[in-house]
């Protein structure tokens, strides 16, 4: 089978008659992908580059590092810091909880319908984000929410008196986890499926304990997908604004909300500082992806 497909591929490279290849190569070769590239350049790459360059220019269009330096003012640093904290906390909680659920439904010996029901629900819940998610959590853990009221009347626990607030770091993190866990489940379940039964049996035959099997086989194998998904979840939460905005208004000053206010009304009184904030966001999500690729190549090399 492998041989067949290989020879097919080498054949295919020479399939077209030479004359036709020579005369038509340029137009037909690129015509099919041209709309894609034009679209991507015009509406994805250029707008982003425009902002990134704008971050290094002043109003007169001269090169400057002032905008980047201006990011160091306390209110902006605080916004970045809380954004990073919320994104990281929700990504880590979501990743570990999602991993636990994925392992439970794949390896835990639960009935089969639970697995398919969980995966279906995860598909729905990972896309149930934005403004409606904020409404759901306000109805649950807001001051009059069902969970708040039941905890108070039945268990005598007034969570708001104990310092909990849905409009806070933990409130936002708990809300984000609602789409982070299912996303993790959806992405990591195939990786868990990829763990072959034989590996467990082979490890047992060689005298490995369960802990050793996990430490030396399971974790190294799912590590790249796990780490990759954590980073994806981080970026996912870092750029999200709708949930936070609907949940907290502007009382929780995360970066996307700060940028949103800046785009709407130039609250920082410096257009180029807005570019710098956007630049900072791209740098952070971009760095996250660089780390992902770096870790992945490392662990892949190690897997060999």
């Amino acid at each position: 089978m492998t041989d067949l497909s290989l020879s097919n591929q080498t054949m295919a490279g020479k399939a077209a008659p030479p004359a036709e290849v020579r005369s038509l190569r340029l137009p037909t070769q690129w015509l099919g992908v041209a709309p894609f590239f034009i679209f991507a350049i015009m509406f994805l790459i250029l707008p982003t580059l425009y902002l990134m360059l704008g971050a290094f220019q002043n109003d007169a269009g001269e090169f400057t590092l002032e905008n980047i330096a201006a990011l160091a003012q306390p209110s902006i640093v605080a916004a970045y810091w809380i954004s990073i904290k919320v994104s990281l906390a929700s990504a880590l909680i979501g990743a570990f909880a999602g991993l636990a659920i994925a392992i439970a439904i794949v390896r835990g010996g639960l009935p089969n319908w639970i697995r398919s029901a969980t995966l279906t629900f995860s598909g729905v819940a990972s896309n149930f984000a934005g403004v409606p998610l904020a409404f759901a959590f306000l109805a649950t853990l807001g001051r009059l929410g069902l969970a708040t009221v039941i905890l108070n009347t039945v268990f005598g626990l007034n969570i708001y008196a104990h310092g909990f607030n849905i409009l806070s770091f933990w409130g936002l993190t708990l809300t984000y986890v609602y789409f982070q866990i299912p996303l993790m489940v959806v992405i990591i379940t195939p990786a868990i499926d990829g763990l072959k039964k034989e590996w467990g049996e082979a490890a047992a035959t060689l005298g490995a304990t369960t802990a050793q099997y996990w430490r030396m086989v399971v974790i190294p194998v799912i590590w790249p997908s796990f780490l990759g998904t954590v980073i994806l979840l981080f970026a996912n939460a870092f750029g999200a604004i709708a949930t936070a905005y609907a949940l907290t208004g502007s009382s929780l000053n995360i970066v996307p909300i700060l940028l949103y206010a800046q785009i709407r009304g130039d609250v920082l009184h410096n257009a180029h500082l807005g570019y710098a904030i956007a630049f900072g966001m791209i740098v952070i999500t971009g760095l996250a992806n660089v780390f992902y690729i770096w870790f992945r190549t490392r662990s892949e090399r190690w897997l060999k």
Partner: protein, 263 residues
């Protein structure tokens, strides 16, 4: 193994509790509008609100145009890469992942600065142009999902043989794509379409910053001003998302299972 199953149940039940309590709470909250009794008043008010109908229709139409634009961009590119340009696949995959790296708010910020009414391409100078820009923005958000869906669909058919067969029968490129390739990957395209719909229908950031009368900004506005209606809207939004995902699941049953040839 016994202990393993116990922990699996514990994890599953805790997870189920975390996911179902907010849904139950939201349903309960949405029915609390009438004092002393559960009622569907909040739903009636929401569904009867002309602004709900107008913004919802606007977002549905935006979603449909987004899907059309996405298909027009992604299908020819994905097809062509499989057929002729496998060497540029990594570049294209990288580009399709960019919208997951660049936050939507940054993309739309770039649009606002680049395509303002004084720019060479003044999308924002007119209503039609701004609507078009919103659809374009949505298409970038949907790009990763659309590309993945179509590419997966193409993997299950023998692109090269189908193309050669069509060429031998005298078909041109347009005919090949619209009458041979597209019908074969229709289920994959529809999966991508429903996912796009689910993403676009309640999208807030882009619609709000482009000042479009879409469903997302309407939701936000209701959330800031009303008590019980937001909960009803959250349930409606959940049902829509669920509907889209169920359609994808149903469609996937009709999809061809295995590749004729590893491509």
């Amino acid at each position: 193994m016994k202990g393993g199953r116990f922990w699996a149940w514990v994890v599953f039940i805790l997870g189920a509790a975390y996911f179902f309590i907010p849904l139950i709470a939201t349903v309960e909250f949405s029915m609390r509008m009438r004092r002393g009794a559960y009622s569907f008043d909040a739903y009636q008010i929401v569904l009867g609100d002309p602004r709900f109908q107008a913004t919802f229709m606007y977002s549905v139409i935006a979603a449909i145009f987004t899907i059309i634009l996405g298909v027009l961009i992604v299908v020819p590119a994905a097809y062509w890469i499989r057929l002729r340009l496998p060497q540029i696949r990594p570049i294209v995959e990288f580009i399709t992942l960019l919208p997951l790296v660049i936050p939507a708010i940054v993309i739309v910020f770039g649009y606002i600065r680049m395509y303002g009414s004084n720019s060479p391409l003044p999308f924002l100078g007119s209503d039609t142009g701004t609507n078009a820009l919103l659809v374009i923005g949505y298409a970038t958000l949907a790009l990763p999902y659309m590309y993945r869906a179509v590419d997966t669909g193409l993997r299950t058919i023998d692109v090269r043989t189908l193309t050669e067969a069509a060429q031998i029968l005298g078909a041109g490129w347009g005919t090949i794509i619209t009458r041979v390739i597209l019908p074969n990957v229709l289920i994959a395209v529809l999966s991508g379409a429903f996912l796009t719909f689910a993403i676009v229908i309640g999208e807030f950031t882009m619609a709000s910053l482009l000042n479009r009368p879409a469903f997302g900004p309407y939701l936000q506005n209701i959330g800031a001003n009303r008590a019980y209606e937001p909960a009803a809207l959250a349930i409606i939004a959940f049902v829509i998302t669920w509907g889209c995902m169920s359609l994808i699941q149903i469609l996937s049953r009709f999809a061809p299972r295995s590749a004729n040839r590893p491509n």
